[in-house]
């Protein structure tokens, strides 16, 4: 909601573009696509860019005539930056967003916890960046517009999806009329209230948490670094919690928990929002002017589909799951879904993998969501305890934290590292362990020179990292044997690293991966480790990679 007298899209800092539907002539002329993506939000646009990365054209449908409005996602984590980099879209994010590593938690005005998110000089990006979703959509939209493989159709609502032998037939209503489109695959990126989910008769299952929050965006010249603040039992919201995040353009995100029993109409009345925000600002020592941008009401849910795929419809982002805000994993999780579904679907469409590769999508991404649920549920129970027992223990922990540092850890928001894929995933998790390499995890990064990281050497498709001194002729033969699995395979070798970055850089990689005695790693197009071999085993690599990713009957 915006303040009285303001238009629906009258923002203090952001100019919403206005889009129109394509002409009927055009949509009747072009009505066959390999992949349709429903929802041109950040997840949908990023999915389109990921498919384009592998040469797969897409059409994006969105029922709105502009971007999503209001206070939405603001935190992008490191792995999302790497994902944006892989589609060539990270530059404007680096320029605009505010990076952060630190969080502070206060109880009754006293700091009880200062946590640092895992970060070392080996990393290319910071653990977290704050940026308004409006900018995320703007930057992705610019990248989409610059890509010849993506067509975006705004003001175009998908109202029907029927299965056919070779794909699905979509019915689209736009401002000019109604038409049909034949597509092979549908990615449903149409958000928490997904109409594709409703059309397919699917339901999200899970839990709702009792606490409710007002989320307000405020513009002010507040001099405080980009540090996440959580306030428990403060003067301005006794017994309740407050979260404060800094965003670009002097915007501040203030989330405050509402008292039990307060009617929603009461809670979201502008006068009440202003009064509560003013009290919070006094509490944090801000005395200057401020302007209200937007506000809404929120309660935590952990909801997910049982299966993220329904025949030729694949659900990505909030259409598949709703996670609590406390772990800042809603959009980040959605982007990871989009990349995961994107590279796998591209392999199927490019004739490199069987459709069975898509069976790994739900175990990997639903697994990641359940992992987030577990951690975010802990955070949600601490932020808004659901019962007397949880409240007593939370209050006991907070009281202890005033004198005992260890107890402050209960207030850690657990913004954890990306999930590790195993059972049912597209990884070779049965291989014996090699050094400290974790199969199914993202490849750890390492700085190789002032401007280059290990992640910069990874190819667009699979990458084979041979950290052994292997004869180049043998390597060529391995690459040739893997041609059917991945004609774009990138090879990184010990000698290439030594040549370009020196022996110390190579030693740093070995020390980071614990592979001083040599190892070979296969990395997926999304940066996850498929498998690792302690002893150079070309035949084994070819056999396992072909079985896991090759096309049946071709290899």
């Amino acid at each position: 909601m915006r303040p009285a007298g303001k238009g629906e899209f009258e923002s203090l800092y952001f100019k919403y573009p206005i889009f129109a539907a394509p002409s009927l002539e055009h949509v009747f002329d072009r009505n066959q696509f390999k992949v349709a993506i429903v929802g041109a939000g950040p997840v949908g646009m990023f999915a389109a860019l990921t498919l384009a990365r592998f040469g797969v054209p897409t059409v994006l449908f969105d029922n709105k005539n502009t971007f999503n409005d209001g206070s939405r996602a603001i935190c992008l984590q490191r792995s999302s930056y790497h994902a944006l980099e892989r589609v060539g879209a990270v530059a404007p994010f680096i320029e605009k967003a505010l990076g952060w590593t630190t969080g502070r938690t206060f109880y009754r005005g006293q700091k009880i916890l200062e946590f640092q998110m895992p970060h070392t000089d080996s990393e290319k990006y910071l653990p977290m960046y704050n940026i308004q979703q409006q900018y995320i959509e703007q930057f992705l939209c610019n990248a989409v517009d610059a890509c010849d493989l993506i067509e975006t159709r705004w003001c175009s609502e998908v109202v029907g999806i029927s299965d056919s032998i070779s794909g699905t037939r979509l019915t689209i209503n736009d401002t000019n009329g109604r038409y049909k489109c034949d597509v092979e695959w549908v990615l449903a990126a149409d958000g928490a209230r997904s109409s594709v989910r409703t059309i397919r008769g699917k339901r999200l299952n899970g839990k709702n948490f009792p606490g409710r929050y007002v989320i307000a965006d405020v513009q002010m010249d507040h001099n405080y670094p980009t540090i996440r603040r959580a306030l428990f039992d403060s003067k301005s919201n006794p017994d309740k919690t407050i979260l404060i995040h800094r965003q670009p353009d002097n915007l501040w995100r203030i989330d405050y928990q509402l008292p039990e029993g307060q009617a929603e109409e009461e809670a979201i009345r502008e006068a009440n929002i202003r009064e509560n925000v003013a009290r919070i600002l006094v509490d944090i020592g801000y005395k200057g002017d401020w302007e209200l941008e937007w506000w809404s009401i929120y309660s935590a849910n952990t909801l997910a589909l049982d299966d993220y795929r329904d025949e030729r419809v694949i659900f990505i982002g909030d259409s598949a799951h709703i996670v609590p805000i406390f772990g800042v994993r809603g959009l980040n999780n959605g982007l990871a879904d989009a990349e995961n579904a994107g590279w796998k679907l591209a392999r199927v469409l490019n004739g490199l993998s069987d459709e069975s590769l898509l069976d790994s999508y739900t175990p990997e991404r639903r697994g990641a969501t359940l992992d987030i649920f577990e951690n975010a549920s802990k955070s949600a129970r601490f932020m808004t305890p659901p019962t007397k027992g949880w409240t007593l223990m939370r209050d006991a922990a907070l009281s202890l934290s005033l004198d005992h540092q260890w107890a402050g850890e209960f207030a850690n928001p657990r913004q954890m590292e990306p999930f590790i894929y195993s059972e049912g995933g597209a990884v070779l998790s049965n291989l014996p362990s090699t050094g400290s390499v974790i199969i199914g995890a993202i490849l750890p990064n390492e700085r190789l020179s002032e401007n280059t990281h290990l992640s910069d050497l990874l190819g667009n498709s699979f990458t084979l990292l041979v950290l052994d001194d292997v004869n180049p002729v043998e390597l060529d033969s391995l690459k040739a044997s893997l041609h059917n699995v991945d004609p774009q395979l990138t090879l990184i070798t010990n000698s290439k690293i030594r040549e370009r970055f020196g022996d110390n850089a190579l030693k740093r990689i070995h020390s980071r991966l614990g592979t001083q005695t040599g190892a070979t790693l296969m990395i997926r197009p999304d940066g996850y480790i498929v498998g690792a071999w302690g002893v150079y085993a070309p035949d084994d690599i070819v056999m396992l990679m072909t079985a896991a990713f090759g096309k049946n009957g071709v290899n």
Partner: protein, 62 residues
């Protein structure tokens, strides 16, 4: 290894006095804090869980 009876009796008395000193609304939270502080002094999680189980025995169910 356990406290001899005279010492556990002293714990009993100190807890009684502390519970009496505290306001009604602080008693439960005090016991929660006390439990967390004690639990932190051991590295035997199974033992702590067992104590949580034992302490629930013979209490009236609502």
């Amino acid at each position: 290894m356990s406290l001899e009876f005279s010492k556990i009796e002293q714990v009993y008395e100190e807890l009684a006095k502390a519970l009496d000193r505290l306001a009604d609304q602080d008693r439960e939270i005090f016991l929660c804090k006390f439990s967390l502080l004690l639990a932190r002094e051991t590295d035997d999680l199974a033992w702590v869980i067992e104590m949580i189980e034992k302490a629930q025995n013979r209490l009236g169910k609502v």
